[in-house]
């Protein structure tokens, strides 16, 4: 395991050589049921890609495939220069906050510390360095003052920020976010976007699934339009066109206002 990680790191020391993410005619399936077909695209370190498509389009499935939790049946997915399951140690996943039990007796600080578990191991006590990472991650999402509070007492948006802080504390080279902006207030949205930008500046790549096209415009260099198949993958400005969006969303309504595109879900 250790050798693998080191070799992975060595290959990425050469700048511009290793893409964070490569999809090469990749098809993903749950057993016999195909979920996503023929995906193609590349994301480089320091870039963000927005996964856009209607509910049930396979955005979460793609994220699971990038974690090696759903098998690639045809083609190839490469994460940080290796197979998805092997890259996991350097990938951080941020689930939707409202999927987690708000009654769970765990503090904000403890949730963020979970991001350090892989570095701490099973038995060792968290070191001063681990605590410093946790504090810094909470600072980055603007929740340092809530460190000791119980996770469930925070608002939905704040919980989402805590989960992002947990990912930051793991120091990932690839960050995967599943619908982080759903039902999130403006303050939290701003904090999430800032923290994402900071991670990108440090050279991490970001994959974020979202319904919000404005956020894709604001925060992502690349867009991947998904609905079972790929309806486009490339620079945001050229891919997020009304025609392609209509094709992706099929019959669902679409409103266009100036340079902002709003998808109304039915």
């Amino acid at each position: 395991m250790i050798e693998e990680t080191t070799t992975g790191q060595i290959t990425t020391e050469q700048p511009g050589r290793t893409a964070a993410l490569v999809l090469d005619r990749a098809s993903v399936a749950y057993g016999d049921v195909p979920a996503l077909e023929e995906l193609d695209g590349v994301v480089h370190p320091g870039e963000a890609v927005a996964l856009i498509g209607p509910n049930g389009a396979g955005k979460s499935t793609l994220i699971k495939a990038l974690l090696g939790l759903v098998p690639v049946v045809r083609g190839r997915i490469e994460v940080l220069g290796t197979a998805p399951a092997r890259a996991r140690r350097q990938v951080a996943y941020v689930p939707q906050a409202d999927t987690l039990d708000p009654d769970f007796p765990v503090s904000v600080e403890q949730v963020v510390m979970m991001g350090r578990y892989r570095k701490i191991g099973w038995l060792r006590r968290p070191s001063a360095a681990d605590r410093a990472e946790v504090a810094a991650a909470l600072e980055q999402v603007g929740l340092a003052r809530r460190a000791r509070d119980r996770f469930g007492t925070l608002s939905g948006g704040q919980r989402q920020r805590v989960l992002l802080a947990r990912a930051i504390a793991a120091r990932p080279r690839l960050l995967l976010l599943d619908e982080p902006f759903n039902g999130v207030d403006a303050v939290s949205q701003h904090a999430l976007l800032e923290a994402m930008a900071a991670l990108k500046e440090q050279g991490a790549a970001v994959v974020v699934s979202t319904h919000d096209l404005a956020i894709a415009h604001l925060a992502c260099e690349e867009v991947c339009l998904l609905n079972k198949h790929q309806y486009g993958f490339g620079p945001t400005e050229s891919v997020l066109t009304p025609e392609r969006l209509r094709a992706t969303y099929g019959g669902q309504a679409l409103e266009l206002r100036g340079d902002r595109v709003i998808v109304t879900r039915t």
Partner: protein
């Protein structure tokens, strides 16, 4: 009055068989309290109930093959098999989980009842398996309980981080490379071991209370896992002690025969009542404190 109460807590246990019963119940209470916190957080009460019923035929078969000494091993065999079956069941969601579990539970329980009904001392045996006989616990059984306790607590301590991550955020745990299926098997095995250890003292039916009640009581008293686990452990042990003392006091001084296992459970439930009352007051206070703070922030003095 106080002196009488205190002597009631200590005096009965000068008798060797009472001392063994006390040690058994205190160890069991502590063990079940610890494992119970995970049962509570994972909402596994029904799975646990299934385990308590499926261990029953193992107990009967063990007893039929090797007498009293076979009970532990029979329970252990049945516990191991059902821990594996349950893990597989809950990981394949094809059949409605509840229906599948209910079927497994009643089928195996019926197997036990049918087997035990073929024996001549039918009702007495059945009562012993279902409700336990804590007063006849032997030194050897005590050692078995002790070994199981050390084993389970050590296992959970070593795995506490992956267990916590899996309990709080299963998707996140999978994403982090945690083997969720294996961890679930470990927890189901731990629950099965508690049931196995508790069979002779409190029986297969009442052990569920030992697992659920102390953990639930501790949860109402604290928001912190580092407090909840030792507290549940303590409440479980105290419930065992107090329940046994009450049942002895009633039998010896008031000519009232109260089954030890049942008394322990009732004492635990009473402790839960007290804990939730205390928890209610605590939360009200916290709420008041927060609203005061809000008022202070809105209208600076």
């Amino acid at each position: 009055m106080t002196a009488g109460f205190l002597s009631g807590l200590f005096e009965p246990f000068h008798l060797p068989f009472m001392a063994r019963a006390l040690a058994e119940l205190v160890i069991l209470g502590a063990l079940a309290g610890t494992v119970g916190v995970l049962v509570l957080l994972r909402r596994l009460a029904f799975v646990t109930d299934t385990l308590t019923h499926t261990v029953f035929p193992g107990v009967v078969i063990g007893y039929m093959l090797a007498g009293d000494g076979g009970v532990f091993w029979g329970a252990l065999g049945a516990g191991a098999v059902t821990a594996v079956l349950l893990t597989l069941f809950t990981h394949r969601r094809r059949v409605s989980e509840d229906a599948a579990l209910a079927m497994l539970l009643t089928t195996l329980f019926a197997v036990g009842v049918v087997l035990v009904s073929r024996r001549s001392g039918y009702t007495s045996d059945l009562t012993a398996f279902l409700f336990g006989r804590v007063l006849t616990v032997t030194a050897e059984q005590l050692v078995q309980t002790g070994v199981v306790t050390v084993l389970v607590v050590a296992l959970l301590a070593v795995l506490r981080r992956p267990l916590m991550l899996r309990t709080f955020d299963p998707e996140g745990a999978r994403a982090a490379g945690v083997s969720v299926g294996l961890l679930d098997l470990v927890l189901n095995a731990a629950i099965a071991l508690v049931v196995v250890a508790a069979v002779r003292a409190v029986g297969t039916i009442l052990v569920i209370a030992l697992l659920i009640v102390p953990a639930a009581a501790a949860r109402t008293l604290s928001e912190r896992l580092a407090v909840i686990v030792p507290l549940a452990c303590l409440i479980g042990a105290a419930g065992g002690w107090l329940g046994l003392a009450v049942s002895y006091e009633a039998a010896v001084h008031h000519d009232l025969r109260l089954a030890a296992g049942g008394t322990v459970v009732l004492v635990l439930v009473a402790m839960y009542g007290l804990a939730s009352a205390a928890g209610f007051v605590r939360r009200r206070r916290a709420l008041l404190r927060i609203s005061h703070e809000v008022v202070r922030e809105v209208e600076p003095a």
